[in-house]
């Protein structure tokens, strides 16, 4: 399997069955993964912040840094490779509350909120999710099989099957 690394504020797509898209160290950042099993197209986005309005110039240079610029671009790029919205499986992962995060801002939570809103507005439901908590995560999407794998810090890798939820919040109990 050919590993294609997706960095922070980065996005990669592939239609090569041997490729696996991987991104590391998702703390408060959130990864959005999409896969069309018919077109054989997969995409993985790693965003850092929810909204680009605070830094429009930065968003022009680095659209994948922000959820509101990165998510639409991820989907449009997938459509250009032959993917269709109604066939897409969608996963989100990350959005942890990291130790050095200012609790008052809670960027991880805000990132997840922003992505949920964008997907709902775009008419896309999430099929697999693991967000919140306090652990850093690494995720991997196999383009050929459409399988999505996740590993928390210090844990073994496991598959996040579609239509299964592993959300650690929104309950703040």
């Amino acid at each position: 399997m050919n590993l294609v690394i997706v960095g922070i504020s980065d996005c990669r797509l592939s239609s090569r069955p041997d490729d696996a898209l991987v991104t590391y160290a998702l703390g408060s950042c959130v990864a959005v993964a999409i896969h069309d099993p018919v077109a054989g197209v997969g995409g993985l986005l790693h965003i850092m912040l929810p909204e680009s309005a605070i830094r429009p110039e930065k968003a022009r240079q680095s659209p994948f840094m922000f959820a509101d610029t990165g998510v639409p671009l991820l989907f449009r790029s997938a459509y250009q490779l032959g993917a269709e919205k109604r066939r897409l499986t969608v996963w989100i992962a990350g959005g942890a509350q990291v130790m050095n995060d200012n609790g008052a801002f809670d960027i991880g939570r805000r990132n997840c909120l922003a992505i949920r809103k964008l997907l709902w507005r775009a008419g896309v439901l999430i099929h697999g999710e693991e967000t919140g908590g306090s652990t850093s995560r690494t995720v991997r999407l196999e383009v050929g099989t459409g399988r999505f794998w996740l590993r928390g810090a210090g844990e073994a890798e496991r598959e996040l099957a579609a239509s299964k939820r592993g959300a650690a919040w929104p309950s703040r109990s």
Binding site: R86, R116, W120, G123, V124, L125, I126, H127, E129, S163, R165
Partner: protein
Amino acid sequence: MAFAILIVDDSPAMRSFIRRVMDLSGLEVSSCLEASNGEEALDVLRRHWVDAVLADINMPCMNGEQFVRRLGEDAVLKSVPVLVVSTDATDVRIRRMLELGVRGYLKKPFSPEVLREELERVLEGSDA
């Protein structure tokens, strides 16, 4: 197989939200009927067969609990699966509704994905 669903809620906004989730869910929904209270819902069910009912509790004229009781008294309608979708998350109400035989109890607020999962679960059960 395409499903017929009845949404019973006095809030037009909530009925819109639920309809949108069904449209996006990938489930084959042949018809999506609506009623704004239990009495209207019974009237719809006298004229149309449905595969599942999503019912709120707090509604005027006939609330969700009264509606489910009436379904249970009907030889044909008692087999229609009901998924409660309500803001009422008290232990007492949940117990009462489960004792009346509802197939699920979804507390508002809920994400679109949780609604889709519950709907799939209830419809899969009805298909068995």
